[in-house]
Amino acid sequence: MSGFEETGDEAVGGAHQLADRLATTQEQLRATSDILKVLTASTTGGAASRDEVFDAVVDSARRLLGAQVAQIYLVQDDSFVLARSSGLTPEFVDFVSQHPIVRDRATLVGRVTIDRRVHQIEDVLADPDYRRTDFQRVGGYRTMMGAPMVVGDQVVGALNVWRTQVAPFDEAAEELLSTFAEQAALALRHVELFSALESRSAELARKVDQLEALAEVGEAISSTLVADEVLATIVSHAVELSDTDGGSLMEFDEATGLFRVRTAYGTSEYVIDALRAAEIHIDRTWVGRAARGRRVLQIPDLDAAPGPLDPHLAVLHGSGWRSLVAIPLVRPDRVVGALVVRRKSTGSFSDETCELLAAFASQSAVALTNARLYQQLEQQSVALAEASQHKSEFLASMSHELRTPLNAVIGFSEVLLERMFGDLNERQEDYLQDIHSAGRHLLALLGDILDLSKIEAGRMELDLTTFPIDDILVQALSLVRERAALHGIRLTLEASNELGLVTADELRLKQVLLNLLSNAVKFTPDGGSIVVRAWRDGEEVGVTVTDTGIGIAPADQERIFDSFQQGERTASSSEGTGLGLTLSRRIVELHGGRLWLTSTPGEGSTFGISVPQPDADREAGGDVWTVDGDDVDGPTVVVIEDDPRSAELVELHLRAAGLRPVAASTGEQGLDLVRAQDPVAVVLDIHLPGMDGWEVLTELKNDPATADVPVVVVSVEPERGRGFALGATEYLVKPVSGEHLLAAVTRLLPPPRADEQSPRLRVVVVDDDPLALKLVRSTLEPLGWEVHTCAGGQQAADLVRAVAPSVVVIDLLMPHVDGFAVIDELRPHRDSDGPPIVVLTAKSLTPQDRSRLEGRIAFVAEKAGIDLPGLARRLATVAAEHVREGEGP
């Protein structure tokens, strides 16, 4: 209570004092908060923001402490540097910079930082320990006070204030100075942290770059076996990341001891050539030394390199390179090459750079090794292919050479057996039979060997046609029936009614069935039975041959499919070649089917085959007509397909339709062709190397120049929706029949030039050969013709009168009523009315034939080597003339 009972004056004086102190405190708070504001605002970090804070500190300290000067000194090694100041003359600043302050007790800041506490010298002139009178003379100060700046547990500097007269600072001032010193230290800490953070993140970013580059290189290595691409990637990344100007990757050849530049980056062709020409020997060059020593070597300045330069360095020096690093490529303990990066300027390379390059080097070593292995593999496969080629050629010529004498063996024995030149006694006939059947056996063996070698060399081509499978079943059965009957073996065929047509190589399939049947007859004891069952199940046709023979032990069931293995057979007949089953299985597999066996020894065996028939409802298979048509000049269709056989097939069908196919085996090439040729349509495969079909389609549709070209996608993948979504006009799933493809393409074509009102061109084709009829039909129908066919001469004239075609195509050689007779009836005289007649024949016309036909037919086309598109064009011309003359329908 007594405190409040002070006198009025005292009270008034106290109030003043309080007000002063309040104001001072407020000002101090403001200063502090100003400093803090600067501190927190300085988000940029760095020395600039540090100096801002220091400035705020020295200004506030000088003002609030009533000092003439405030300064911040920072500790550097064993002395101080003046960082910032307030109230100092330029002369003093200059003087301080020229006269370093040692960190000892001779100065105030020395004492402050050594003792880590605030010090005050009330009068420097009266302090015998104060030694820097030189400063005092320049600055003229008397009372000074300093506070340490501490960051963590380190004294980093001192904040120092002085007055030019002797006027000691009070306790409050001491406290305030400490606060300011703390704030300055904080700023310093902040800046340090900030720049540490900054360099840390810069380092991180660099590391990320490096990792990315390494990952890219790794990816390149694993994704491509084209070594030079990988190596070029490595060198370019190594150069870019090491911040150098160029580099090269050398391959080491153990045999010669030489390095050869494999790829280079940032290096002129001329220098690369010179490097390649230089003899870079492992024992005589600097690079070689790096490789031998398994360590990274660097030359900071080529000019300063001691002694004469080796050939490698001489080339580099001569073309202006000044500093370089060599990193050996070693894997796992063999030198495989070296990576060299270089600069045009001098200077050493940091450890970090070397480390980075070492990482690249290890990747390069992997790539080089891979490349080498790949190259070897390639060479080996070329050698293998050659060997296989030689083998096939050898077999083909051997087969020919063996057939020639066999012809004599078989032929002369037959001559004698035919008794052309006299009778034989029983023994003579017996021996001759032996000679003859041995010759036949050799011949069969020869055929099988040749077939097998063709399959193994991948050269057996299936001649696919569509035919009723019943036919070959019946034929194969008839060929063994006699022999079966001889042994009292019952032979039965159980076939379902819906077998229908199959698409396969007819001769080969018959060969397989015959092989299975003759095996069955061979291994079935007299009086046994053989049942042949044939069935069709959805997309598969199968045939099984079941015998009541001796059966095959489980251990032998797989072995008998190997060449010359016949299981535990009785030593009786040995007429087989030992290759039949091997060959049969391979043939069935070529058809995409399988051949299997189930057997119980003592009871019998069942051999079965199944052949897939994906287009069960298709009525006709791929024709194997060869068509000459390279000179077709119809509308262009670009075919983008990487499989040459598929491409050929598509081209064949397109040509037959009078179109001009242009083939591309890659998407990129295809795009170029589409842009260059402006085709009426594109046939596009999806599986392509590099750019796939989807990308090609997208690109075509995105380019206004090509967006309107219709695209027929032909793919094994049933992604119709995706195809249409991307803009395909048609989507066909492989395998595609010729008809389907043609139909799809022709739908896309602009309508034929003929007037819409004018009737379609109509043709009657008369030929007894169904294949010829089919061929003409499949050629003309896609072109918009209405095709009527007639298999013989009898009904031809009637049909022509009924249909009133624009042109008639007639074969000359037909049974019963031949082509001449039909022509006689249709066109008795040269000037008789009626449609023009074109003769399509396999017959070589004699002069008599020609004179007989002269004037009554438009032209003759020969079936041999027929040019179907050409025929179609000529037919169209003839028909159009007829229609124009108003004689037609």
Binding site: N407, A408, G411, L446, A864
Partner: protein, 130 residues
Amino acid sequence: MSELPVVLIVEDNPRNLKLARDVLEYAGFCVLVATTGEDAVEQARTSLPDVILMDLQLPGIDGFAALELIRDHEPTAHIPIVALTAFAMHRDRERALVSGFAGYLEKPISVREFPAQVRRHLPRREAPEP
């Protein structure tokens, strides 16, 4: 004066030549022989056979070249030429037929069927001569 059909056999292997000759003579052909392509062209021009059996692999010009020469010469152009060969490849038949051979017989021949196979290529006798 002979009404026998005349066949020219072109074959360089003496045994096979003998076989074909003996079989065709036995079957009632008049047989001429040639052992090289050049010889065949010469014989064709001088003797104008009814049919020619031609091995494809011959010393000197081969069967294809000989065929061309016979075809290019007007008096012999019409003579049917049948290839007789031990070429074993599937494509050979096609190649021969495309080249203009009238037929293709594979060795070894079947003695029993051989004469009929050759006779099939004889021009029809009953065709009216101009």
